[in-house]
Amino acid sequence: MQRLLAGEARAAGRVISLIEDRRPERFAVLGALAGRVGRAERLGVTGPPGAGKSTLINAMTRALRAAGRTVGVVAVDPTSPYTGGALLGDRVRMGESGLDAGVFIRSMATRGALGGLARAAEEACDVLDAYGRDVVVIETVGVGQSEVDVARAADCTLVVLSPESGDQVQAMKAGLMEAADVFVVNKADREGADRMVAQVEEMLHLRARRGAWEPPVLRSVALKGEGVEAILEAVARHRRSEEERGGLAARRRGRLLARLRAAVEEIHREAIWADPGSALALEGAADRVASGGADLYGAAAGLFRSWLRRAAGLGGPPRGE
């Protein structure tokens, strides 16, 4: 833990693994980080495949580094539901920084459970925050609501589109459009960029305003680094606006509540199944439900109560260690 806080990349890499693997040791680790988290500015980047998110993050990283800020990136890509494997290739485009110690990139696979992913990704951001990164970026492919939600767990969420994204935006406009604090139409030197910008602006007009902040629709050509300064300015503007209205505090508070709630559930779930008594009771309950002796929810409630009694005898639900 000291090594992490001292800025050792190896330590940060290992701690993220503990979290990603949902190993019991993570509770202690995250506990030790507690006082050091909350300093970093968090950016979420999401959007359909092929919009150029990695390239844009690479260009933003370059600009942030030039401004003297350190950067951490958590890049999330899907796990194959069939094999459990994943091919995480975002580094290729993001890795321009090479040996720059001011850039830390971690690739993460969704590993099936998206709820778990949201927690793991956010905790990985906590690690990079404690590790001393000034800006932490979390990137997800915006193909489903859950992935979009992961990118929303940030102070500012960028939705990146390209002129070719029209169909994808149509297919999932609600989730993706609601998520955005800043829209970026990347590959803006291509045919159809104007149409895409107009399409997004029209959707924004149709939508009820959420507050004082009106998401801007910006253009970029990330491959050439064009438009990146304007994006970072918009992010800063958004931050000031949120701060003035107390939005940032409210947003962080909301996120904290959600995380707490999820953590309570996670601790319980893990504790219940870590108890050998629960596994035994599960088999029995399944027999009763199968034979018509009990209904599903009734049996589940019974299981939960019996675990509570055992746990009370042990002095409360065990903390993972």
């Binding site: 990603e20 693997d21 949902r22 190993r23 994943a86 290729v92 090479g98």
Partner: protein, 147 residues
């Protein structure tokens, strides 16, 4: 509940050569075998390879070398891994290299190397076995632990 950790492998091409067919085929095969593959891409120096391995906390590094630079790249990568506390990471790979060179690298501590025409599944199996063996040798760790 702790889920079994998938094996994490960094697949990369050191040096200047861009012939990435082998690297990409192997990356796909490892993914299909249920591993998490971090594809590092082209033109990486040993320093960059080790930096990625550190950040990504991989169990295995697989390098594909087709341009006769393997006798420089593998030893240097190995040296850096040891210097930076990643001595427990398996360094393996393949490409155009003679049996003699493979043996010499093996004596230095590089894992098995796979020449042209090697069996793709044998490579996958080798990595899986290696990780299992390591896991058995270290109490209290997951399927392929790093903690």
């Amino acid at each position: 509940m702790t889920e079994a950790r998938p094996i994490r492998v960094l697949v990369a091409k050191p040096g200047l050569d861009g012939h990435d067919r082998g690297a990409r085929v192997v990356a796909s095969a490892l993914r299909d075998a249920g591993m998490e593959v971090i594809y590092g891409g082209l033109w990486l120096s040993p320093e960059e390879i080790v930096t990625i391995a550190e950040q990504e906390d991989v169990d295995v590094i697989g390098l594909s070398s087709m341009n006769n630079a393997h006798m420089t790249v593998f030893p240097r990568t190995l040296e850096l891994l040891r210097e930076r506390g990643l001595g427990d990471v398996l360094l393996t790979g393949g490409g155009i290299m003679t049996a003699e060179d493979m043996e010499a690298l093996g004596r230095m501590g590089v894992g098995r190397l796979f020449g042209p025409g090697s069996d793709m599944d044998a490579f996958v199996e080798y990595i899986r076995r290696w990780c299992e063996t390591r896991a058995r040798g270290t109490e209290g760790r997951g399927t392929c632990p790093t903690a």
